[in-house]
Symmetry: C2
Subunit: 414 residues, 2 copies
């Protein structure tokens, strides 16, 4: 993505000024801090199991044993076999491996892929490149005005050479939860296809891991993606679950680690950290869903009430309990230089930041959006694409934080 | 690589037995422990700069600032520009990115690559795949009997469509140091090629980072690879240096991080860890080279003296100061089932392990070797491929450790 050329000195000054103030972080969809328990587990593993898991000696075998133990723990949580779990360096790499790997292993001359227009850039940018290289043909599915994919629209696009269908579990910007099980049902019914046969169904669950049931059994997906940074887990740590018997080829070659699918010295501490983070996520899930759903709905109501002409982007019910995405004003004046609209997303993010609040205008990864701040909101309601804010909660978010936020926001945009 | 199906219970028993015994680790070429100072730096960075570097707000900007600070530190050590440094998830990924990225960006119909037969599997396995897919043609250069590549043999293979020459700085099994500067000179002289024009020269410096001058300026390489696990640094952390103006395309797509060349949320703590590990490596280098060269030569002399029919694999002078690779008996009896030769590498590694010593039979990554334990030694002296041991030293290795090792080895093979 284009790095914003903010002046570091100004930023650093602002940082110093705010040092004694409490910051309120409301951007947990972009990253979550590393949980203390996860950190502790990782430190322990790094200290005791630092060997190379591919080595024959005790140091290597101990490291390998620990790695496989973490794999088994994760398999139990996600209801799959341990040998269906592949550790990667993050969600982005796992998505790339899944898509490229399935295409590489397919025997179609020109394989066909179906995906939604609001997938993460890791999907859309890769697909753009594959189209350019004439390696695949793609049918894009648009969501409805609330950001939901209609399972029937997926079915309509399935062709004889369709090898892969990609639908995210929950959207990273508007938090909309897709009807994955209905889509699976309709794919399986419309086809002779059984699980493990084409078209494969890839579900990006990076955003939903903390708040949805991500059992691959219950979701019915063939391929599932998770990312440590989105669930209070390790950085540079992702998971690809690929059901056994799927045809998938490696993208990165070398020592043949991860059963040949992902070469490179394994990161044993990261694997243990992922297992711990998932364990904690599942343990806290029910309570957090209840708490955050209440908080979300209260905040949405209050925001829509206090801020004139505001509206909610995305479905109000079928959304992650920690996600609010609000359109502040339909029809932004952006582009009429030099005047900047008071509702301009980026302007607001920076303004709110100086006042102690971290929110976002779109995803932290929005390389696709040349025209507007958010291609996701562009797809739903173009008038809101440059005047929307994403507010996402975490384990530390309290009602009083949101109360403060709303009153500051109200002052800023009036 | 094929994971060895050792019985974990037996291993665990052995581990318990040895718990009070001091283990002697002599396999630092496979992995180095994480340095305490590096760990401390990473913990500090993880705690204070945990934001997503792509975010617009203070948490994001602080993380981005720290990331770029690490990049600048590394650039100063390696004598390159900060924007020539790309963080990856390890040496293997960096090698794959360099090779695939250069091929993808090239306009040749069938690009030509030159590489040595003793490169790391990350190079050879990838190239094998590229040949299978008819994406490249390759000329392999064999080393001489001491494991050294003759610069003239590289020159001979350069053709009009040669886009890439790949020679490792030091071999991971036999520690042989290649005449990189001579190869660069001969490439540049033989061609109209200046730096930044084809053929590019890729140097894998993963094994040499601790003991050789890896200034990219002085080496004269166009592309350089480093790996955290080989230099007491972070796991899952690699560096690709790609000189500016090189034509190179991304392999992993997404949010466009690392100036578009490597998407995925950046690992800020790992970047800081790499900077610290390199700083320490350079600081300790001269002293360690002196200490370990003395220790190496003393050990080689004593081993060759004490063990009948033994010989050294690789050059005795042009080799890493921490590497010994010894052939215990030319012409192994391997294959005459059920008798296992007392000099069989794998048998010896396991036997020595139960006696408290961690050494290796070959690289931890030797997926290529179906026929023998080591394709590297196979290339030098086939009779030694199944009866050689690699002993590699680290910062903690003392003369007394090696003294003990030699007497135990002598008993084991007699």
């Amino acid at each position: 993505m284009p790095h914003y050329t903010l002046n570091y000195d100004i930023i650093q000054d602002a940082v110093i000024k705010k040092r004694k103030e409490k910051r309120i972080f409301l951007d947990y969809a972009s990253i979550t801090p590393l949980d203390k328990e996860v950190k502790k587990e990782m430190d322990k593993v790094q200290e005791k199991f630092w060997g190379n898991p591919s080595s024959l000696h005790t140091e290597g075998e101990k490291a390998n044993h620990k790695l496989e133990e973490s794999r088994i723990k994760i398999a139990r949580i996600l209801h799959c076999r341990a040998n269906e779990i592949f550790f990667t360096s993050g969600g982005t790499e796992a998505i790339n491996l899944a898509i490229l790997g399935v295409i590489k292993a397919s025997k179609e001359r020109l394989p066909h892929i179906i995906c939604s227009t609001i997938e993460h850039p890791a999907v859309l940018e890769l697909i753009k490149n594959l189209i350019n290289e004439k390696k695949t043909e793609v049918s894009f599915i648009s969501p409805d005005g609330r950001g939901i994919i209609n399972p029937k629209s997926v079915k309509k696009e399935i062709k004889e050479n369709t090898i892969l269908i990609i639908i995210q579990h929950a959207n990273n910007e508007i938090g909309t939860i897709q009807p994955i099980r209905e889509i699976v049902k309709i794919i399986r019914n419309s086809n002779f296809a059984t699980r493990n046969s084409y078209p494969y169904f890839l579900v990006d669950a990076c955003q939903s891991a903390l708040y949805e049931d991500i059992s691959i059994e219950r979701l019915g997906a063939d391929l599932l993606i998770l990312d440590g940074v989105k669930m209070y887990g390790p950085r540079g740590a992702g998971i690809l679950i690929s059901k056994h018997n799927l045809r998938i080829s490696p993208v990165i070659f070398g020592g043949g680690q991860e059963r040949g699918l992902r070469s490179g010295t394994e990161n044993v501490a990261n694997a243990a950290g992922l297992a711990k983070a998932l364990e904690l996520a599942v343990g806290k899930r029910e309570k957090e869903i209840k708490r955050l759903t209440k908080l979300r709905d209260w905040t949405i109501k209050k925001m829509l009430n206090k801020i004139p002409n505001s509206s909610l982007n995305g479905d109000s019910k079928k959304r992650l309990p920690n996600n609010i995405n609000i359109c502040l004003s339909q029809g932004d004046t952006l582009g009429k230089f030099p005047k900047v609209s008071p509702w301009d997303s980026e302007f607001l993010v920076i303004k709110l930041d100086t006042l102690g609040f971290a929110v976002s205008s779109a995803s932290a990864c929005h390389a696709l959006s040349n025209k507007s701040d958010s291609y996701v909101i562009e797809a739903l309601n173009p008038k809101c694409a440059n005047s929307s804010l994403r507010i996402t909660f975490g384990r530390d978010t309290k009602k009083s934080d949101l109360d403060k936020f709303i009153s500051v926001l109200k002052k800023v945009i009036k």
